[in-house]
């Protein structure tokens, strides 16, 4: 019984990867953790699987492996692909030598994320093949396959997961293990240097591969089609939407449908045409943003028939949040399953996540609140991590949280545009990830802002992964960026230091230049 994420890891390991690169983020974290666990148990396998400093670097690392002919995987949560978008999009121009699989894990429903973006659109945008598994077995099989087709088409390939796949266990049967590729330096580097003259030729080559991708997709066995004689309603379902459809259809009270599961992209055009031949109503069920529901009109126009389309765009399925069997029953016109009467809605209260009892962040927030007490012209820009929970009572200590590292640039700009007390609060892992470059800018521009780095020596929210630079090394980095030594303060956030820490923060807030306060105490979860 493996998690979807673990199945992805084993698919990659058995495909002969030499390296896996990743930055922790729910729901993708367990992929890299599984590779790390395997690698630690099998040192002879020689698989590199350290955490990367951020997703852009992770992607570039995987691409570097690919250039020298080795197989590598890069994984992160969906928004990590935004960070990695620059090398990702350029790698469609360079192509791949050794197989390169990119595995973003989406989070429809935002269980642990700031948005619901659907990574299939990135594959569509980049014009590369994408596979969409629906259970742990397929997560294993399709990840393996991704490396083969990446080498066959000489292009990076995406495997798209979602939270409910990444975090659902199922039985997985392994197939044979493939040996790692041997290091091979390319004979010709033209394609790897994206000067416009080279890039134009490479882009032509990518465009000319599209027909091959579609051919591959048309014949892929996961794109399962079923034509029900006499059924006027056809269903196209993708990703977990297919599971919910099959579940709903198994207790449909006799209603039956023609259906096509789309599991590979670009879409299997032939099979779509075949399905459309027989139907007058089409229901499109997609986990994520409607992609096929947007593409489908081209194929409907070809039929010359009038076909009604029901899906998210038409309002027949909810546009936000995850799909489930209930919402799919509704779009299929099936009655809801009978439930035991729910009697308790007035008793049950929400229980949002909260900081652990004794968390060092809590002490820093109390000190910051004390330092800012009575000040009106103030904004506390914060960031992604456990400390984002400082938004809730009893702290109410932070105002904004946007994306990894955003706090630093936002606070810097607000300070130089007139905000008196402009503070950034972020963890040391987030600072490593995306805080260093805006910090350098703020220091060189002498912006009057204060950055509080919460150094708990781990990436806590995702379960305690190593941070690459902590403690004294982190101080050296900050000073190395050019910060004046007297405006780097290191405090110990414990309850009895409240007054002292608040005073230190206040002094730096009053200083009209860049300052950094490092609040250093180890996370309770990793003791």
């Amino acid at each position: 019984m493996l998690l979807g994420d673990e199945a992805v890891a084993f698919g990659a390991i058995h495909a002969g990867i030499s390296a896996a690169y990743a930055y922790p983020g729910t729901p993708a974290t367990e992929i890299q953790e599984a590779v790390q666990k395997y690698s630690a148990l099998h040192p002879d396998a020689k698989i590199k699987a350290d955490w990367s400093i951020n997703e852009k670097v992770a992607y570039e690392e995987a691409l570097g492996c690919s250039l020298i002919g080795l197989r590598s995987m890069v994984s992160f949560k969906h928004v990590g692909l935004n960070v990695a978008a620059d090398p990702f999009m350029s790698s469609m121009i360079t192509g791949a030598n050794g197989g390169l699989a990119v595995v973003p894990c989406d989070d429809p429903g935002m269980h642990s994320s700031q948005n619901e973006q659907d990574s299939r659109f990135y594959a569509f945008f980049a014009q590369i093949p994408c596979l969409e598994p629906i259970d742990a077995q397929e997560a294993y099989d399709m990840t393996r396959e991704a490396f083969d087709i990446s080498e066959r088409f000489k292009i990076p390939v995406m495997v798209r997961s979602v939270a409910r796949l990444s975090h659902t266990r199922g039985k997985v049967r392994f197939s044979g293990e493939q040996k790692q590729n041997k290091l091979k330096i390319p004979e010709n580097f033209t394609g790897w240097n994206v000067l416009p003259s080279n890039a134009r030729a490479q882009y032509d080559s990518l465009l000319s591969k599209q027909a091959d991708f579609i051919k591959w997709s048309n014949s892929h066995p996961a794109n399962r089609i079923h034509i029900e004689k006499g059924a006027a309603t056809g269903v196209i379902a993708t990703g977990l939407g297919f599971n919910y459809f099959m579940e709903a259809a198994s207790s449909s009270g006799g209603a039956s449908y023609s259906y096509l599961r789309v599991a590979t992209y670009p879409v299997p055009e032939q099979k779509i045409r075949e399905l459309l031949k027989n139907v007058s109503t089409l229901i499109v069920i997609e986990e994520g943003n409607p992609l096929i529901e947007r593409l489908i009109w081209k194929y409907i126009a070809e039929t010359g028939k009038k076909i009604a389309v029901k899906g998210k765009l038409s309002g027949d399925l909810p546009s936000a949040g995850e799909l489930n069997t209930e919402s799919v029953r509704v779009v299929l016109g099936l009655a809801a399953l009978k439930s035991s009467a729910a009697v308790s809605s007035d008793i049950v209260r929400g229980r949002p996540p909260q900081l652990c009892k004794g968390c060092p962040h809590a002490d820093t927030f109390y000190a910051l609140n004390k330092a800012l007490a009575g000040k009106t012209e103030k904004v506390v820009f914060s960031d992604i991590g456990c400390y984002t929970l400082g938004f809730y009572p009893p702290f109410k200590a932070i105002d904004s949280c946007v994306c990894m590292g955003a706090s630093v640039g936002m606070a810097k700009a607000a300070s130089e545009n007139g905000l008196k007390y402009s503070v950034a609060v972020l963890g040391e892992s987030t600072f490593n990830h995306s805080g260093i470059t805006p910090m350098l800018e703020g220091i060189k521009r002498k912006s009057p802002f204060t950055v509080i780095i919460l150094d708990n020596s781990t990436t806590a929210m995702t379960g305690g992964q190593d941070t690459i630079c902590i403690g004294e090394d982190l101080e050296k980095v900050v000073l190395g960026l050019g910060l004046e030594k007297e405006h780097l303060r290191v405090v110990n956030p414990i309850p009895k230091n409240l007054d002292e820490n608040a005073a230190a923060i206040l002094q730096e807030l009053e200083y009209e230049g860049p300052s950094v306060v490092i609040a250093r105490r180890e996370c309770l979860q990793i003791r």
């Binding site: 019984m1 998690l3 729910t26 729901p27 974290t29 367990e30 269980h111 642990s112 259970d135 409910r164 796949l165 975090h167 659902t168 266990r169 199922g170 039985k171 977990l240 599971n243 919910y244 099959m246 579940e247 198994s250 489930n324 069997t325 209930e326 029953r329 809801a336 399953l337 009978k338 439930s339 035991s340 729910a342 009697v343 308790s344 008793i347 049950v348 209260r349 929400g350 229980r351 949002p352 996540p353 909260q354 900081l355 652990c356 456990c386 929970l389 929210m461 995702t462 379960g463």
Partner: protein, 188 residues
């Protein structure tokens, strides 16, 4: 045969661990099984649920549809009620009686009586049983024992799994968990 079970509680109570034990045992027996877990933000003291689906046919969705759950096992009473809408008409809640009050908590007696309004539901005195075992963290295994008794399957498999899973922590830990499991079996 089909079994849909929701394991409910608060982050850190050992929900995932007992859910995975049942899922593993059923899978070893040849059933189709899916187990959905919660990772990430909610684990920080938030409400956590884990879905286990077992069938002798195929299991499609990883999450249980509303109106389909046969059991809700809740280590924390209010968390069991949170998912009551998932119960099938014959489904029941098996709950412990130890509330986690890290929020503005509703009246405890109302919570317990609301659970009992679901016909056949049981509230087990996990507080007293865990106290007797001198192990405050045994509630999850006690409730697992109670659930297995109600299901009427996987009893021996679960005992050997407890022995295996806790072996690395020493004989006394194995022993206390076996006792907890049996306490659950015999107190429902």
């Amino acid at each position: 045969m089909k079994l849909d079970i929701i394991f409910a509680g608060v982050g850190g109570q050992g929900i995932v661990s007992i859910a995975s034990m049942l899922a593993f045992a059923a899978s070893e027996k040849g059933f189709a099984v899916k187990q959905n877990e919660v990772h990430g933000m909610a684990q920080r003291g938030g409400s956590v649920a884990c879905h286990v689906r077992i069938s002798d046919k195929s299991v499609w969705a990883g999450i249980i549809p509303k109106g389909s759950a046969d059991f809700i096992l809740s280590i924390e009473p209010m968390e069991g009620l949170r998912y009551a809408g998932y119960l099938s008409p014959s489904g029941i809640i098996i709950s412990g009686n130890q509330p986690v009050k890290n929020i503005d908590y509703p009246d405890e007696n109302r919570v317990i009586s609301a659970i009992k309004k679901h016909e056949g539901s049981v509230v087990i005195d996990t507080a007293a049983l865990a106290d007797k075992l001198k192990n405050t963290k045994a509630a999850n295994i006690i409730l697992l024992g109670a659930l297995i008794k109600k299901i009427g399957l996987f009893g021996p498999e679960m005992e050997s799994l407890i022995k295996k899973r806790f072996a690395s922590k020493g004989e006394s830990v194995v022993d206390i968990n076996l006792k907890a499991f049996n306490a659950g079996m015999s107190n429902i």
